[in-house]
């Protein structure tokens, strides 16, 4: 029996321990935020946090998460208002949106360990996440924005998503 938490809730797993966490989350828990894109840790669409750090759930066997905390996009924030999620809305990053949960989880993990990454550090940390719609320039800008709001900590005026603004 393998035990762990998912988004704060305790779970037990007694199936094939080689099952990737991705398929457990999707098929057993119906948590469909983490996406299947490649199955070999090439694209990052399946990215979740294990004890707060971004990991590719498509190649991570359930046997490796004994006693650990799994966080999916569904558990990243209470109301979809994590600074990274807000920055994604501010910059209207997504096109099709399929890779974006993974991108957001990767970016949130980056900023939790390095709240003020350089341009180059952002590129290095995000180049494992593919976006076929090609939203990279906006992802990069959004991470800079989220970095600012996280590092300044208080007194930040967030973008209002109902506002009909425009990406510069």
């Amino acid at each position: 029996m393998i035990t762990f938490t998912v988004n704060g809730n305790k779970h037990e797993f007694s199936g094939d321990p080689s099952t990737p966490v991705l398929w457990y989350l999707r098929d057993e828990l119906n948590l469909t935020g983490p996406k299947f894109g490649c199955g070999m840790a090439q694209c990052g669409a399946c990215t979740v946090h294990i004890d707060g750090m971004a990991q590719r759930s498509c190649v991570l066997p359930v046997s490796a998460v004994q006693g650990r905390k799994i966080t999916t996009i569904e558990g990243l924030s209470e109301n979809g208002d994590h600074p990274v999620q807000k920055a994604w809305v501010e910059h209207k990053v997504p096109q099709c949106g399929f890779c974006q949960c993974g991108q957001i989880m990767q970016a949130a993990s980056l900023l939790s360990t390095n709240p003020t990454p350089s341009d180059e550090e952002i590129v290095q940390n995000m180049s494992g996440n593919i976006c076929r719609c090609g939203t990279y320039p906006r992802i990069h800008k959004a991470i800079k924005s989220a970095s600012k709001s996280i590092s300044s900590n208080a007194g930040v005026s967030y973008f209002d998503p109902t506002q009909a603004g425009e990406e510069a």
């Binding site: 490649c38 199955g39 096109q95 949106g97 996440n129």
Partner: protein
């Protein structure tokens, strides 16, 4: 090809060969002669709700349901359709809900490709919206016993000059007694009155996407669904020879192994055949597949080899071929020319590789099939599934999910047919999940192509004569056995409509029999045609010792309208009326001038850096791109920044156009850096993102600055036009940076030599 082939319904044209079907398709696009019937929004309430029979429903609680009948794949069509309707009907934005339309011919064409959703629908959507506004205004006037002209409908409320107001929701019953005027007598808003159209307002699915709530195909949760993963024949036309079902079934969770019949005749959208492993969950199916020990009969395409085919194509374009367009006498001028530029270009097969691999869930019943699919064209699913399970297409209910990218792959619904067939065989709901390997190895590929271009240059570098031959496997080969030569609709895309001003031009096309399933990919044959033409012009500029941008403008020549049909050419102009959407060199010149200003064209560049420019009209939209690159002494390439000017006529959402243009540019990088799809022994040699490289953030410019040209010209395409121009602009920049000319894609190791 009969008018019953799938192709008829699905791909804009090439139905000139079947006149009847062509007219049908065209009629469908424009809703035949019945715009008013379609605009009769509220005239026929359905059942309990005051529900529109088609696109707009005003509910008793005041919420407006707008149906989006096109597929959402990142182009924000759901938002754009709502913007158009809500603007014209004067709906309050917070009272608008978008309903995703199922597959149904009542909507007209639903094939979401060809960058035409706005172009083909904006007018009728405006008319429908304006009809509702008219009905509200007139219903209020009737209720108040006043002249309609004294009432104004605005933001869900009608206000009389007296100050009395009536909410839309309270006018529904009265409105049903009002008949809106014919479309041509309906007063649409003036441009200056638009409040949603032509703004960059945020798209409606944004919050769902960033919180993981958006429902893509694999996110459809049918509790009893079993999962199928399919081992397909590696060669097109191949068949199962032997396999070990027992070994696969021994895997815990695997419940069955079912053979899918091999396709008959031309591939069309039929499943490729193979063996489906049915299991309780995805991982079990995946493991079961590995245990199958399958062997194959490869059939006639088992000899397909990309290196040999490349040689064949290059030989083809180096010999005279069938005429496409002719002006003057290019051949004799070229023969006598003292100064000639000759170049061959090559672009490999490419895979669309959307982030979401194909996926569909189906449930077969005796009298119907329900399908949930990431499809660009639900009506094609209806036909394909119907044919697969032997049922009338009207009985196939196709629910369209969000599409995790598509780029042309998902208008070929073989995956829906697989799911339906397996549900029929098992009696259970089935979710067919394609793996990335399946997607890369069993696709409908962008055609491999070769181009041969020659020009005679006079002493000032002016092009006296121009010869261009193209060869590529036609998309028609997927639909019709023995279709070996490019069709005119593919030649239209950047070949026949060449804008070079020269007294002598000859364009020819050669045959290239397909050995793989050929399909369309974002911007289709524009990719290799624009690569050849825009690279060649750049080469000629260098030969003539002229600035690349000045020379590009020079060879395009003065502002004018080009009609290639004067030159023995067939040309269908993306199904746009040429009086409405002429090929206008003035607009092409304008985007070139604009992008040059944005990029600071002509500025001093440090060693190893260069700017490249290219311009191209596709899908009736004009795009010019400048790319800045750096090439190190060791031959490492960095794309620094890009600038794009796009003139797509009237645009609905300015930010969407920017985002699509940025993304379409990055997509264009694929052409240059990807290894392409290659075949040996009929098998695709790539399998996943480690050996089919697609652009990552490290390959992408961190800034793609986009200028959307303000225009009141009719709306044109947006999703595709930024893509074809990118690879030539990039390769021209590489030449400027380091003097190496890339004529064959991918770039690969060419900069290292």
């Amino acid at each position: 090809m009969s008018e019953n082939t799938y192709f008829d319904m699905n791909r804009r044209s090439f139905l000139k060969s079947t006149a009847a079907a062509g007219a049908l398709v065209l009629g469908t696009y424009f809703m035949g002669g019945a715009p008013r019937a379609m605009a009769g929004v509220l005239a026929k309430p359905a059942e309990n709700a005051k529900r529109a029979n088609l696109f707009i429903a005003l509910r008793p609680d005041g919420m407006v349901e707008v149906t989006c009948h096109r597929s959402e794949m990142g182009q924000q069509i759901r938002t754009a359709i709502a913007q158009i309707v809500a603007d014209e009907m004067e709906a309050a934005w917070d009272k608008v809900i978008v309903i995703q339309g199922k597959g149904d011919p009542k909507y007209g064409d639903q094939n979401t490709d060809g960058s035409r959703s706005i172009r083909f629908n904006m007018q009728r959507l405006r008319e429908m919206g304006a009809s509702v506004r008219y009905m509200m205004q007139h219903a209020a006037a009737k209720r108040l016993g006043v002249e309609p002209s004294t009432c104004v409908a605005e933001q869900h409320v009608v206000t009389h000059t007296s100050g009395k107001t009536l909410a839309y929701k309270d006018l529904i019953d009265d409105a049903l007694t009002i008949t809106p005027p014919e479309a041509d007598k309906l007063k649409l808003k003036e441009r200056k009155e638009w409040r949603y159209i032509n703004t960059g307002m945020a798209h409606i699915d944004l919050q769902d996407i960033v919180t993981g709530k958006a429902t893509f195909a694999a996110d459809v949760r049918e509790p009893k669904a079993l999962v199928a993963i399919i081992e397909r024949p590696p060669v097109v036309g191949g068949k199962v020879k032997s396999f070990n079902a027992d070994k696969a079934k021994a895997v815990n969770g695997v419940v069955d192994v079912i053979e899918i019949p091999a396709p008959k005749g031309a591939p069309q959208f039929q499943p490729k055949g193979g063996l489906a492993i049915i299991a309780n969950n995805t991982w079990a199916a995946w493991q079961g597949r590995k245990a199958l020990d399958v062997t194959w009969d490869d059939g006639a395409n088992g000899d397909y080899n990309s290196a040999n085919f490349k040689e064949q194509l290059l030989n083809t374009v180096n010999a005279p071929q069938a005429l496409v367009r002719e002006k003057g006498d290019a051949l004799s001028v070229l023969e006598k020319a003292s100064d000639k530029l000759v170049a061959d270009y090559y672009v490999p097969h490419l895979a669309q590789a959307p982030m979401e691999p194909p996926c569909a869930t189906a449930m077969y019943y005796k009298d119907r099939v329900d399908v949930w699919a990431a499809t660009q064209n639900p009506q094609a699913d209806m036909e394909t599934v119907g044919a697969m399970v032997g049922m009338d297409k009207e009985k196939i209910n196709v629910h369209v999910t969000m599409l995790g990218g598509a780029f042309g792959r998902k208008s070929k619904p073989d995956f829906s047919a697989e799911a339906a067939y397996l549900s029929m065989k098992t009696g259970k709901p089935i979710r067919v999940q394609w793996t990335r390997e399946d997607d890369i190895q069993h696709g409908f590929y962008h055609a491999v192509s070769a181009q041969h271009v020659e020009a005679a240059l006079d002493e000032n570098g002016k092009i006296d004569a121009y010869l261009h031959r193209t060869a590529f496997s036609p998309i028609a080969s997927t639909f019709q056995e023995g279709a070996n030569a490019p069709f005119s609709f593919e030649l239209d895309l950047g070949f026949t409509d060449n804008p070079i001003l020269t007294p002598n031009m000859k364009l020819e096309r050669g045959e290239a029999p397909a050995k793989a399933r050929i399909g369309w990919m974002r911007s289709v044959s524009n990719i290799f045609h624009a690569f050849a033409v825009q690279s060649f012009i750049n080469e000629a500029a260098h030969k003539a010792g002229k600035d690349a941008k000045d020379y590009l403008l020079e060879v395009i020549g003065p502002d004018r309208i080009i009609d290639v049909t004067d030159q023995k050419a067939e040309y269908q102009n993306y199904w746009g009326d040429k009086s409405v959407y002429p090929l206008d060199t003035g607009r092409l010149r304008n985007v070139i001038e604009k992008v040059s200003d944005m990029a600071g064209w002509g500025r001093e560049m440090p060693k190893g850096r260069g700017l490249g420019i290219a311009a191209h009209r596709s899908f009736l939209t004009y795009v010019a791109t400048v790319v800045e690159v750096e090439v190190s002494d060791a031959g490492d390439l960095s794309v620094i920044k890009s600038w794009v000017a796009i003139d797509a006529g009237t645009v609905v959402n300015t930010d969407t156009v920017k985002n699509q243009t940025q993304g379409g540019s990055v997509y264009g990088i694929t052409t240059a850096i990807s290894d392409g799809i290659t075949f040996d022994k009929g098998r695709v040699q790539q399998s996943n993102f480690h050996n089919y490289r697609v652009p990552r953030m490290s390959d992408s410019p961190l800034e793609v600055e986009v200028e959307v040209i303000e225009s009141d010209a009719p709306p044109a395409g947006v999703g595709e036009p930024a893509t074809p121009v990118y690879a030539p602009a990039l390769c021209n920049a590489i030449f400027a940076a380091c003097g190496k000319r890339i004529r064959q894609l991918p770039i690969g190791n060419q900069l290292k030599a």
